[in-house]
């Protein structure tokens, strides 16, 4: 038995509860958003309350399907009202002396477009809530439209490639950095190719939420919207980390730290090749994206050096 346990992946050491989800999956083949949510559930524990909104995680969180579900208590919100609804729950439970972990789980469209005001407000008030944004770089659930998380050059249904268009012409918002600038107790990035790193951050989030607002930004490729092979989502995650396109970092109480430093970063093109939405890009456009990625990483490095 002991031998068998030793073979379990290390990430299981962070689990505090059994799987709260039923077998089956309401998501598209190869989707890792659902894997993400199961991991969150196992580490946050069965008594955490999940908040969601219409989007890809809606089928899983609040039952937009009759196939797979969970045993958590949950609260479905309008897209403008996730962090504010979480505030309402957290404040009432505080007043009533009830201990509950409040976990918001939405896509980037909600977190950094239509719901950014309410997240920013809740962060500024330092509410005791955990907000997890699964970033699939656009409105995937409604048919792959662009969001403010869609990167330069990506083809989406509202930034299509055409004779006069190369796809999206502006950069994405650097949402985790925007949240870090709120000076909240804890902000981190994570992705599904680095499960232990993510698990540590979730465990830390559960602790830090006692001090106030916690924001986790999770890179979460969409196989359908990004035109990625169903078996390649995790490969894309790893490539994003190894090219510093999506560096894994955290900031707790003002101290920035890259949690998975990459010794020899690969060119961003290594990742782009795996993703169909970038297939049309030429060298010049790829270099724009590379430059933007490098700039962001330099800022992160500078922040990390402040207290190093």
């Amino acid at each position: 038995m002991a031998e068998k346990l030793n073979k379990l992946p290390k990430v299981t050491e962070y689990f505090c509860d059994e799987d709260q989800f039923s077998p089956g999956n309401a998501c598209c083949p190869g989707c890792i958003m659902e894997l993400n949510l199961r991991l969150v559930s196992k580490i946050m524990g069965k008594d955490s309350i999940l908040l969601g909104t219409p989007g890809c995680s809606a089928p899983t969180i609040h039952g937009q399907n009759d196939r797979a579900w969970h045993k958590h208590s949950y609260y479905a919100c309008v897209m403008t009202g996730v962090a504010s609804s979480a505030t309402g729950l957290a404040r009432y439970y505080k007043k009533a002396g009830i201990d509950a972990t409040i976990v918001c789980h939405t896509g980037d469209g909600c977190a950094q477009d239509i719901g950014i005001q309410t997240i920013s407000g809740a962060a500024e008030r330092n509410e005791n809530i955990i907000y997890i944004c699964y970033d699939n770089e656009g409105y995937m659930n409604t048919g792959v439209q662009r969001s403010s998380a869609t990167p330069y050059g990506a083809a989406t249904s509202t930034t299509p490639v055409g004779l006069k268009s190369i796809g999206k012409t502006t950069n994405s918002k650097n949402m985790p950095m925007i949240m870090a600038m709120h000076d909240i107790p804890y902000v981190a990035t994570a992705t599904l190719s680095h499960l232990e790193d993510y698990a540590k951050k979730l465990t830390k989030a559960k602790e830090m939420v006692k001090q106030g607002f916690v924001y986790l930004h999770v890179f979460c490729p969409c196989t359908v919207g990004w035109k990625v092979k169903p078996d390649s989502s995790i490969t894309v995650c790893r490539a994003a980390v190894q090219s510093n396109y999506f560096p894994l970092w955290e900031v707790g109480n003002g101290a920035y730290r890259i949690t998975q430093p990459v010794a020899k970063p690969k060119p961003i093109n290594e990742m782009l090749k795996l993703i169909g939405k970038f297939n049309h890009l030429k060298d010049q456009e790829i270099s724009v994206l590379q430059q933007q990625s490098d700039n962001r990483f330099s800022i992160l490095q500078a922040l990390c050096s402040i207290r190093a």
């Binding site: 609040h62 949950y74 309008v78 403008t80 505030t87 009432y92």
Partner: protein, 395 residues
Amino acid sequence: MTARSKNIKVITGNTAAAYAVLRCRPDVVSAYPITPQSELVEQLAKFHADGLLDCEYVAVEGENSAQNVACAAVMAGGRAFTATSSYGLVYMYDTMLQTSGYRAPLVMVNVNREPPGIHAVYSGQQDMICTRDSGWIQIVVENCQEILDTIIMSYRLAEDYDIQLPVMVNYDGYYLSFLAESVDIPEQEDVDRFLAPLKEQPQRMKLVAGAGTGCGSHGIGMGFVEYRKKHMAAMERSKELWDKIDQDFKNEFGRGYGGQIESYRCDDADIVLVATGSAVGTARTVIDAKREQGIKVGLVKLRFFRPFPVEKLCHILKGKKAIGVLDRSICFGWNCGPVFQEVCALTRHIGIMPMLSFIDGLANMDITKEHISGMVDEIYKASQNKPYQELTWLP
């Protein structure tokens, strides 16, 4: 009447509302300031800062969040309060629909003001009209004392196990929000006793951590239809209960408002004017004067706007020779006032008679005694089978 002590203060409508909220002991107050409501949320912040109001006071970053915070707090099992006006009301509209759809018994004050379109930081009931089909119970009141009393009564209605619907208490911006008059502030123990019956009822469903409870699953097919039908049925039930709560309040505090509507000198009247809000006081004075001139005119003060007090109105209006309706808002697409349009819909119960629409008091234009006198004259003319104007804009 068991509550006897008098604690009279000269306070504004906004302050009266704040005292009502204080007495109702909410768990969570979410608030965002807007003219002409700001004084209300400032007063609540002061009560909270002074330790008088033991609640979580959430100073949100916008009205949309104010509504979300309050709705979630109620769904978690708490008592919540929020207040807004005009732009704020329409900015929280998506969540207002969620609040009523969730059957969250929230009480909210809306201080009536002209909504966006033509910029006007002025009184008008158009904001309330914009949200008429939101599934909320909507009440309009006339004076500062009624503001205070109605908020207290509204918690009894909203949180009643058989109702579980949000209630919006409306009062005219400026004319009531900033009007100072003497208000009797009830004792805490008396309000506690008045709200106590709620505790004896079955507990409503709430969101409990670890219990596998949920809010807002997709209402698929028949589940959706059943939910809608039950919502509508609860709203219908609220009419009779509101009349009873009003009576209970009168027994306890000595002040009653007639429930869904107040009928003034209507019994022997030939003609009737229907009005809402602060204009009713002015109208009452005019009705008395006209009575002295021999015109048999009555007045109906509409307190419930949603649900519409169909039965009560039919009972009073049936057999009258002409009816006029005073609106402080307009009804796009029907070329009349909104309440007028709804009163017209009663004809299938009360038959055909001349009905006159008066639009007055938009954007802080005073509804004067002269205006109302002219309205009564026109309604009287119509009752005498003389030519009359169906729609009149004033001034």
